[in-house]
């Protein structure tokens, strides 16, 4: 019997999920082959990664530390995607949040119970300010947020580099190219993992709840899937676009604040391990579901941690970035192919 491939507007969920899994496996196999060709044994490396990540509580703690910012940057990008906006600038908003939190932590005196929440709010506001003008430009002038948000990443990185090597450089001279240690830190919950981790999960569930069970969330989702229809139904598209993008920026800012106050404690040039860019990955893998954000963040955390474990083998963060790109590439292709179904061709009578 003859068959043909037919395109369907929406993929079958099971096929889509399968395509996801295949894409990730295929990307990892490709990366393994390249590593193998360069002389390393991919299976040995893989075993080492698994052993050091899951074989000890230290390994799991490291993943726990990495997953916190990834959940939040992933959530940030995913929220914006809900209304059809690409926030590629989570990296910059992350830096802005860390910058604002550092400023508050270093220069406003007071007990931790007061200053820490202040830093949290400051971090969120930092991220919000970072995306504000671009949001207005998109909403009122139709300027693509995709490129403007990305360009501000470089400014954010330069800003953090500037203050941490210039005006805010540690006066005690304990750290090179970093600010003094911020006294107020997010308390730990398990080993090195701090309270930011449950907070990130809580925030994800809150946002998902708001998107799924409130009128606002319904309107946002409708506006995201069909802006014309939303306008026709009297939904204030522009207002929702602005609130969603500002929310997205704030979440990325919070990620930066938590990374600073929970993990790094000093503002420095490379405080983000490309968390903003990896957040795009998380959001894409999540396919718009909150549970997906958590799962995607966990996967990216393990991959990022593998890169750190394998650093002695000549791998580094750039290799991880390349592998991430490979996963994204195959995922995009897999997503498209999942739209096709094999249907039998009926013989003409």
């Amino acid at each position: 019997m003859a068959v043909r491939f037919q395109y369907f507007p929406s993929p079958q969920p099971a096929v889509a999920l399968l395509a996801r899994g295949l894409a990730i496996v295929l990307a990892l196999v490709c990366a393994g082959l390249v590593l193998g060709a360069s002389g390393a044994s991919p299976i040995m490396l893989g075993l080492r990664v698994i052993q050091s990540t899951f074989g000890s509580s230290f390994g799991l703690q490291d993943v726990g530390l990495l997953v916190t910012p990834l959940i939040l940057t992933g959530l940030s990008v995913a929220v914006a995607l809900k209304i059809g906006a690409w926030n590629i600038g989570a990296e910059g908003q992350f830096y802005a949040g860390a910058f604002a939190a550092t400023g508050i932590g270093l220069f406003i005196p007071g007990p931790t119970v007061v200053i820490l929440p202040l830093m949290f709010v400051g971090g969120a506001l930092g991220g919000l300010v970072w995306i504000l003008i671009l949001t207005l430009a998109r909403a009122y002038a139709g300027v693509s947020e995709l490129i403007t948000t990305l360009l501000l990443n470089f400014v954010g990185i330069l800003l953090a580099y500037y203050v941490s090597t210039g005006p805010w450089l540690d006066p005690g001279g304990h750290a090179l190219g970093a600010t003094a240690r911020v006294r107020h830190s997010v308390p730990e919950i398990w080993g090195d993992v701090h309270w930011g981790f449950p907070l990130a999960i809580l925030l994800t569930l809150l946002v998902a709840g708001a998107l799924n069970f409130t009128r606002w969330g319904y309107e946002v989702r409708l506006a995201g899937s069909n802006a014309q229809a939303a306008l026709y139904a009297g939904i204030p598209f522009r207002r929702h676009l602005i609130t969603v993008m500002l929310l997205s920026g704030s979440i990325a800012g919070i990620a930066g604040m938590l990374e600073l106050a929970g993990t790094v404690h000093r503002l420095q040039g490379g405080i983000s391990n490309n968390f903003g860019y990896l957040g795009i990955m998380v959001a894409v893998l999540a396919r718009g579901s909150a549970l997906g954000v958590l799962a995607g963040a966990a996967l990216m955390a393990v991959i990022l941690n593998s890169g750190i474990i394998l650093q002695t083998q000549g791998l580094n963060t750039s290799t991880v970035l390349a592998i991430t790109g490979l996963i994204l590439f195959f995922t995009a292709i897999g997503d498209e192919l999942a739209h096709y179904r094999i249907v039998p061709v009926e013989s003409k009578k």
């Binding site: 360009l151 990443n153 470089f154 500037y162 498209e336």
Partner: protein, 311 residues
């Protein structure tokens, strides 16, 4: 006057990177495909050029190698976005991540070394003796003339003065109509995306062979993204793109001049100028002149894959 001549010379040199990458992006976007992998393609081109030049001290081979790598990677990108019709934004971001990461991984061995051979500036006889600005404009490396004169004029001619160019633009504006008129939409898209990617990689080679000239991680520093933004600013026209690149080159060189002359502004702040300038320049014109929006509009089918039949 020396300052202005120096500024112009650096602007032309710095703008060349952006101009070449932007011309590549114009090709791609005119047939309706957004290529957000420019940043990654530039990184790959930059490291290819350095690797070749280290092995055989010929900058021309380095450039050709980079163009070739760009073309090959562009064909992979086009296979995904044009043939398989995968999401262009995602594939572009993926290409940027892969290219940047791969180039940085390969580049570890070449980091910090100056390029063994470069495209050196050549003074054009007579023209470079023109008083005031002659030296600034006509003592440049050979690529500058290619990028600022030959390439944009050729592309403009092809795009707006030939049947082939009309077809090319039709593919980006209304692929269904183009298809009905017998134009091979997918072929146009595939080869122009590959060619555009090739130019983007060439821009990377220009960066490491003529402008910086050495490799270091992060040498591309967002120039690929600036080039993408510049195409919007230039209204998807080759000659405008080159002029816009010159303007952006001027913003960049302002930072250099500031550092060289010890302006009381910190270097990182000056380094922010090109990014902030780019953002300002794509927002302000749209706000200022509403009519510009229609005149400079993107190709109508930009970013949308073409399905001949969805049954």
């Amino acid at each position: 006057m020396d300052i202005i001549a120096g500024l112009l010379q650096t602007s032309i040199l710095a703008g060349g990177v952006l101009a070449l990458a932007a011309l590549g992006e114009v090709l791609s976007e005119r047939v309706g495909v957004v290529n957000l992998g420019v940043e990654g393609l530039m990184a790959l081109g930059a490291i290819t050029a350095i690797a070749i030049v280290t092995a055989t001290p010929s900058p021309v081979l380095g450039l050709i190698g980079a163009l070739g790598v760009g073309f090959g990677v562009g064909m992979i990108f086009a296979s995904a976005t044009v043939v398989l019709r995968a999401n262009q934004v995602l594939c572009g971001l993926a290409l940027t991540l892969m290219g940047t990461g791969l180039a940085a991984t390969i580049g570890k061995a070449y980091s910090g070394m100056p390029a063994r051979a470069t495209f050196a500036p050549v003074a054009i006889p007579y023209l470079s003796d023109i008083p005031l600005l002659g030296r600034a404009v006509f003592t440049q490396n050979i690529l500058v003339y290619l990028i600022y004169l030959v390439l944009p004029v050729t592309l403009h001619f092809i795009m707006f003065r030939t049947r082939h160019g009309l077809n090319l633009r039709a593919v980006g504006e209304n692929p269904a109509a183009a298809d009905a008129a017998g134009i091979a939409v997918q072929k146009f898209r595939f080869w122009y995306v590959a060619a555009g990617s090739s130019l983007a990689s060439g821009a990377g080679a220009y960066l490491t062979l003529a402008f910086v000239p050495s490799w270091s991680e992060g040498v591309v520093a967002g120039r690929g993204w600036i080039a993408v933004a510049l195409v919007i600013f230039a209204g998807y026209r080759p000659i405008n793109a080159v002029l816009a690149a010159l303007l952006f080159g001027a913003i960049t060189s302002l930072g250099f001049v500031g550092q060289a002359r010890n302006w009381p502004i910190a270097a990182p702040i000056l380094s922010m100028l090109p990014y902030l300038g780019t953002i300002a320049l794509i927002i302000v014109p749209v706000l200022a002149w509403h009519r510009v929006r229609r005149l400079m509009a993107a190709p109508a089918a930009l970013g949308m894959p073409y399905y001949r039949d969805i049954r």
